[in-house]
């Protein structure tokens, strides 16, 4: 480059300004020549390897800076001495059936009981020294939830916290933010709520307060994959252990810092062209990393779906346990009770708003013509030949076998015959239009 700007024919162009340098920063891989040829000629494009190298360095440095900042902000020691541990055999089952081993204890729900209580040996410790409890337990049966409980010198009330979600053997439950985790902790125990199933409890680890423990807890949270529910279509959520520091926010912070570092490196290298592709590459790389976790969530839910539904005929897939019973009931009705052509059906259920049972039953009964809103009988609206389904117990409605009428308080009785009974529903056919219906 000529120092006087003349020898290479750029004597009529202006020297670069901050703005023009900013513009150059957005030159692309495939190249758009800058409007200012002086600037374009001054700054050759970064080689591909340089871009990759600078990007990786920036990303790693940014990640390190963020982790270091979070550690500094937490005030925690980086690492502490190995935590005390209790084997499964050290635990005592207070309620529930148990088969004790040396390293683990196999527990199961007793008949008619929906709770398993396990106590740890008495060994008081300060909450200030322990940040988390790692509960080593096998995968819990479906429908079983677990929790920790303890007593604290700071409060007379029994404190509790749900176990961290995890599919595999370790449930590192972070208690450092729990309002009841204060003072001297004693009477530590585990409780499992459910109806049936057995599983092995392999022990407890008291995890001291340290940055390593925090990272471990966070890492476990990242590997815990949310099971989709009816709320998923409205919004996705991270596991509770990640709520204090959203991975999305963390990733965005890393990208921002990496961009600043990359910008500084690029200025040092004096090779500004190609920065835009570098910036895009950084952003996309971190996006892909976040996406890997999302793909794992996706895969986990797909595996669950395939396990639940593989081999089931499309017509018989229910979306949860209660739905299976509704489906069975509806199919029985449609096959054996209701005529093949669509009938008017009134579903009566003691609920308001969008109730899963009544709405799902309505869906399963299609193409019959369903009215599904009331908690009471509707003598003014029913006609001979209509069907009425009483779903679950409904206060004030009863069927008189002797009179062959359906009665509800203060309303005209509806002549009907009972056509089908199911554990949670009864079905009637209207045999005549209710009397005095028009005069009411």
């Amino acid at each position: 480059m000529s120092t006087d700007g003349k020898a290479d024919g750029r004597e009529n162009v202006k020297p670069p300004t901050v703005f023009s340098n900013l513009s150059v920063a957005f030159l692309w891989v495939n190249g758009i020549s800058s409007a200012n040829p002086y600037v374009a000629g001054f700054s050759p494009a970064m080689s591909l390897l340089t871009r990759i190298f600078v990007g990786l360095c920036a990303l790693l440095m940014a990640f390190g800076i963020v982790v270091a900042y979070l550690w500094y902000d937490s005030g925690l020691p980086w690492i502490s001495s190995p935590p005390p541990a209790l084997a499964g055999g050290d635990l005592r089952v207070v309620q529930g059936s148990a088969l004790a081993g040396e390293d683990s204890i196999l527990v199961a729900f007793e008949r008619g009981r929906d709770r398993i209580d396990i106590k740890a040996p008495t060994m008081p410790f300060s909450a200030a020294d322990i940040s988390a409890i790692d509960v080593l337990v096998d995968e819990l049966p479906a429908g079983v939830r677990g929790g920790l409980y303890w007593t604290s010198s700071e409060s007379r009330r029994l404190q509790s916290a749900p176990l961290a979600e995890a599919a595999r053997g370790s449930r590192l439950t972070d208690l450092s933010g729990h309002p009841g985790w204060k003072g001297q902790i004693s009477d530590l125990g585990l409780v499992f709520l459910g109806r049936q199933g057995s599983f092995a409890v392999n022990g407890l680890r008291l995890v001291p307060l340290s940055w390593q423990a925090k990272l471990e807890s966070y890492s476990q949270g990242l590997q815990t994959f949310e099971t989709w529910s009816q709320r998923t279509i409205n919004s996705l959520v991270f596991p509770a252990t990640l709520k204090d520091l959203s991975p999305t926010f963390l990733a965005a912070a890393v990208v921002l810092i990496a961009l600043l570092i990359a910008g500084a490196l690029v200025l040092m290298l004096k090779k500004r062209a190609g920065f835009a592709s570098l910036a895009l590459g950084l952003f996309v790389a971190v996006w892909v990393i976040l996406d890997v976790r999302w793909q794992a969530v996706f895969a986990e839910n797909f595996v669950q779906a395939s396990r639940s539904y593989a081999g089931s005929p499309s017509e018989a897939k229910s979306i949860m346990e209660a739905d299976g019973q509704l489906l069975q009931f509806a199919n029985t009705l449609k096959t054996n009770i209701l005529p093949p052509e669509p009938q008017r059906v009134f579903i009566v259920h003691d609920s308001s708003g969008h109730n899963f049972l009544r709405l799902r039953l309505q869906y399963h009964l299609l193409p019959h013509n369903i009215y599904n809103y009331k908690k009471k009988l509707m003598p003014k609206s029913v006609k001979e030949g209509d069907y009425i389904i009483l779903l679950e117990q409904i206060p004030g409605i009863r069927f008189s076998q002797s009179e062959k009428v359906l009665r509800s308080d203060k309303r005209a009785p509806i002549p009907a015959e009972s056509v089908y009974r199911f554990p949670f529903a009864s079905v009637y056919r209207v045999t005549a239009e209710p009397k005095f219906a028009r005069s009411e």
Binding site: N234, T248, S314, Y363, L366
Partner: protein, 488 residues
């Protein structure tokens, strides 16, 4: 299974063939992407016509008519392709500045990147398809609002009317049905018709397989966006990266996987309609304009909010077609009029044939959309949680404001083409008004019921607009060029 395959492929064939006859400026990816949606539009319209004529809706007759209609497209002479076929713009000046060896390395690397992201996109679509095949209809509104209609129509082979619960009880229309959700009986019909069509192809009601069109919609969105970005001069590997970013948005994936809601279809039609408008700004090709208008209108038939977003898109299209002075004047009127009305105490009138028009401190009432109270509710914490801290959108909402800022600083010239930016600003303003000022929606936002779903309608469109703003290379047709094109 043959019927299912035909029901899935036929819209593609029908739509793409007809579009190829009239849309000379569209590249292959664009034709395929828009073709599927255009085909869905045609087939659902055909089903309605079929029912209107009193004919029983059966699969093979409609499929046959559709196939004949597709074949008729060959009778229309295919126009010669013009210069806007999506190839990279001439004069790779950046490459001229880099040594040949480095250029070769970059080319190999970009091909490698293209391959990687193509795999990622295909794997994503495949995963969503596989999940849909196994999982039955899962999401609440699907089996409460949309699928019941489709199922009844399938079983009865006619589009039976749905009425309100009160009307049903009155017995005025003995053949009519009603839904379990008292507000959903008059929802637009497109989504149930899509399910109905797929069930016809299956010749059975399969809770799982009738959701497959949602996956095809995602593929169509990817193809349409890719094709349009290529037209705008975005390099192929970059265009594919952007398609990956769009299709990998977790919340979008949820709506394709837990399929059945109308939100995703509205998002697709709105996005591709806006892209057609952007393309028209480049080419002034009447076909682009027609596609934009058709897609904007079709939004009305998908979901009620489609009337708002589709309406804003139609206004944007109108602004783009007007001389600049008129457009600016119209924008000023649209901004000033409500402000003036509000200042003067509001308005509350009945428009014959349309309904009530109200805008005052008591509430807002718009024809077709109904009435709502007005009261400010602060939902910024909810926005922060949903947009910035949850897994819903990856880092999208961090990047979009930055992208807009960069666009304003680096490419302010694009703002001269204000129609698409009018869409951006007007839809953002409408969104903020709805969720901050209408208590019903504020509470739904707070309990995370509708906020993300409303954003889903707009995100693909916003995303595409920002990509066009920052990466689009092809110059917008100037007024002089457009008048030359009109006279030739």
């Amino acid at each position: 299974m043959t019927g299912l395959l035909i029901s899935l492929i036929l819209p593609w064939i029908l739509g793409a063939l007809w579009l190829s006859r009239f849309w000379s400026s569209a590249n292959t990816a664009t034709l395929l992407g828009y073709g599927y949606l255009f085909g869905i539009l045609l087939i659902t319209t055909l089903m309605r016509l079929w029912d209107f004529m009193g004919l029983e809706i059966q699969f093979w007759p409609i499929a046959g008519v559709s196939l004949v209609a597709a074949m008729l497209a060959f009778l229309v002479p295919k126009p010669a392709a013009d210069g806007f076929s999506g190839i990279d713009p001439p004069g790779q000046q950046g490459a001229a500045q880099t040594p040949a060896a480095e250029s070769q390395k970059i080319l190999s690397f970009t091909n490698f990147i293209f391959a990687i992201f193509l795999v990622l996109v295909v794997v994503r679509l495949g995963a969503m398809l596989a999940d849909n095949v196994y999982r039955p209809m899962f999401s609440w509104d699907t089996w409460m609002n949309f699928a019941p209609k489709a199922r009844v129509w399938f079983e009865l082979h006619e589009i039976v009317p749905y009425v309100s619960p009160r009307t049903w009880l009155a017995g005025t229309y003995p053949e009519a049905y009603t839904l379990g959700n008292s507000q959903a009986w008059d929802y637009p019909l497109t989504v149930p018709l899509v399910m109905f069509w797929t069930a016809l192809g299956l010749d059975a009601w399969h809770d799982d397989l009738i959701k497959i069109p949602w996956v095809l919609g995602a593929a169509a969105l990817g193809l349409g966006v890719y094709g349009q970005l290529r037209h705008f001069g975005v390099a192929r590997h970059l265009a594919l990266i952007f398609v990956y970013l769009l299709l990998s948005i977790p919340y979008l994936n949820v709506h394709v996987t837990l399929a059945g809601y109308a939100d995703f279809w509205l998002a697709i039609f709105l996005c591709l309609g806006l892209l057609a408008l952007l393309k028209w700004c480049h080419t002034h090709d009447r076909a682009d304009l027609a596609i934009a208008i058709i897609f904007a209108l079709f939004c009305f038939t998908i979901k009620r909010p489609g009337a708002i977003w589709g309406g804003i898109l139609l206004v944007s299209i109108a602004l783009a077609m007007m001389p600049r002075r008129w457009a600016i004047a119209l924008i000023l009127v649209m901004v000033a009029a409500p402000a003036l009305v509000w200042t003067l105490g509001g308005i509350d009138v009945r428009i014959p044939g349309l309904g009530r028009l109200q805008l005052n401190s008591s509430g807002i009432s718009l024809p077709y959309l109904g009435s709502q109270d007005i009261q400010f509710t602060d939902i910024t914490k909810t926005l922060d949680l949903s947009l910035l801290r949850s897994p819903n959108w990856n880092m999208l909402w961090y990047a979009m404001p930055v992208g807009i800022l960069i666009g304003v600083i680096w490419r302010p010239g694009r703002l001269r083409q204000f129609a698409p930016f009018f869409f951006l600003i007007a839809s953002v303003a409408a969104f903020l008004f709805i969720f901050f000022m209408i208590p019903r929606y504020s509470s739904e936002a707070t309990n995370q019921t509708t906020l993300n779903r409303a954003l889903l309608h707009l995100v693909p469109a916003y995303f595409s607009l920002i990509i066009w703003w920052l990466w689009g290379k092809n110059e917008i047709a100037s007024d002089e060029q457009s008048s030359i094109q009109k006279t030739t």
